[in-house]
Amino acid sequence: MVLTPANNWRVFVFYFCIIAVLLILSKLPPFYILKRSLVIFPFVLLIAIFIPFFKEGEIAGSYNIWLWQVSVTYSGLFILANVIVKAWLCILTLILLSSTTKLAELLKGLRQLGIPRVMILILSFMYRYIFVMADEVMRMQQARDSRNFGGKRLYQLKTIGNMVGTLFIRSYERGERIYAAMLSRGFDGQVRTLQSLRFKSADAYFGAVFCLMLVFPCVIWW
């Protein structure tokens, strides 16, 4: 999808159809998907908004902003549209993946694709403890609010700084305890896992059909 030429809009329509079919099959609520997919736009716009101004080509319009004269080109707008479409299709695919697959399964899959075990371990710890930390932050906020948090702005900043510091120290100590718990069960620095995902024939069929679908539009509309 990333390599598809920008002017080949039919390919993008085709890809969108594939993703749409899969999203419908996944039975996710459409509004939820739409809402989550909008998250990506600020990031893309932040990066890509300047492209129409810098790209050279036929001028679509020029404006005087204070001292500068800036002009927008057609080819630049075209690339911007293309970047947005690609980003949106990517985020739709990601939403599809992350809402239909448990993180534990996803990590096992990544492991089998050859991602180093240490990386998988880090990701799994992150996902396991992010909620524990969120709970801790919530409790700290409640404790702060019950002691009538208020006063001068500078004082508030100091309190928040202390909370961040406390959270850091608590997380660090928790890390130490987790490591001790791992050592107690024979951990020696080497990460071992059981191979528990099976590559079933259904996976092979899906993979093959999906690859064909990806290649097919490029071949006929190149």
Partner: protein, 238 residues
């Protein structure tokens, strides 16, 4: 008689200088249920961490005749199952299965054996069928049980538990006590829950300020009200 734990004159200071343990002597025989009681900060948890070499002091600690040194560490950690106070620390995987399997997988058991050990350990603590659940979504009592299963899967000869009944409601607490009573191995339990001590342990060690201040059978120690009061432990209800 063979001793499962033998500690002679163990002292330990934390890196920041404050005293953890001072001249601790402790001998535990096979099959004993030993309670280590004492107020907060008495050094109970510190002592437990010496039993499988997470911390090491200045003296020899022997577990089942094995001296605590690097080459024996793996064998010792197989024999000593240490359950931490906060199950949130003990359960660090994304599924209950992975957590209970962590020990056996580290011991390089074959896959069928790992699966069999996990199933057995979970059934032992009454949590069969929880394999695919996420530890984050369990109740506190369930987490405690699974935390115990994570060391039972290694078939330890000594079960060492830090504060097994803290934060449990009475029903969960007593069902956990019943569960612990069924385990045949040597148990060392750090707690300040005297009801638990009375129900489960035959022998009690009292610690305060890093020292062992009393060691005897549970009835005598729990009967010695002035001793308990001196060390910040309320006597059990008559």
């Amino acid at each position: 008689m063979n001793k499962v734990v033998e500690i002679r004159n163990l002292s330990f200071n934390y890196p920041d200088g404050h005293r953890g343990l001072k001249d601790v002597n402790l001998v535990v025989y096979p099959g004993e249920n030993l309670a280590v009681i004492g107020p907060n900060g008495a050094g109970k948890s510190t002592l437990l961490l010496h039993l499988n070499g997470i911390l090491r002091g200045n003296s020899t600690v022997k577990i089942c005749g094995l001296i605590m040194e690097d080459k024996n560490l793996k064998e010792i950690r197989k024999k000593v199952g240490l359950v931490f106070q906060d199950p949130e620390d003990q359960l660090f995987s994304l599924s209950v299965f992975d957590d209970v399997a962590f020990g056996p997988v580290n011991m390089n058991y074959s896959e069928p054996e790992v699966r069999q050990r996990v199933t057995r350990a979970l059934e032992w603590v009454g949590m069969g069928g929880y394999e695919q659940r996420s530890p984050h979504h369990l109740s506190f009592g369930e987490k405690k049980r699974i935390a115990i299963a994570t060391v039972l899967s290694l078939d330890p000869e000594i079960l060492v538990i830090d504060e097994p009944t803290s934060n449990l409601d009475p029903r969960s607490k007593w069902s956990l006590v019943e569960l612990l009573q069924q385990f045949p191995m040597t148990k060392i339990i750090a707690t300040h829950d005297l009801e638990l001590v009375d129900a489960l342990c035959h022998r009690t060690v009292v610690m305060d300020e890093g020292k062992v201040v009393a060691d005897g059978d549970t009835e005598t120690i729990l009967g010695n009200t002035s001793l308990l009061k001196d060390h910040g432990l309320a006597p059990p209800n008559p």
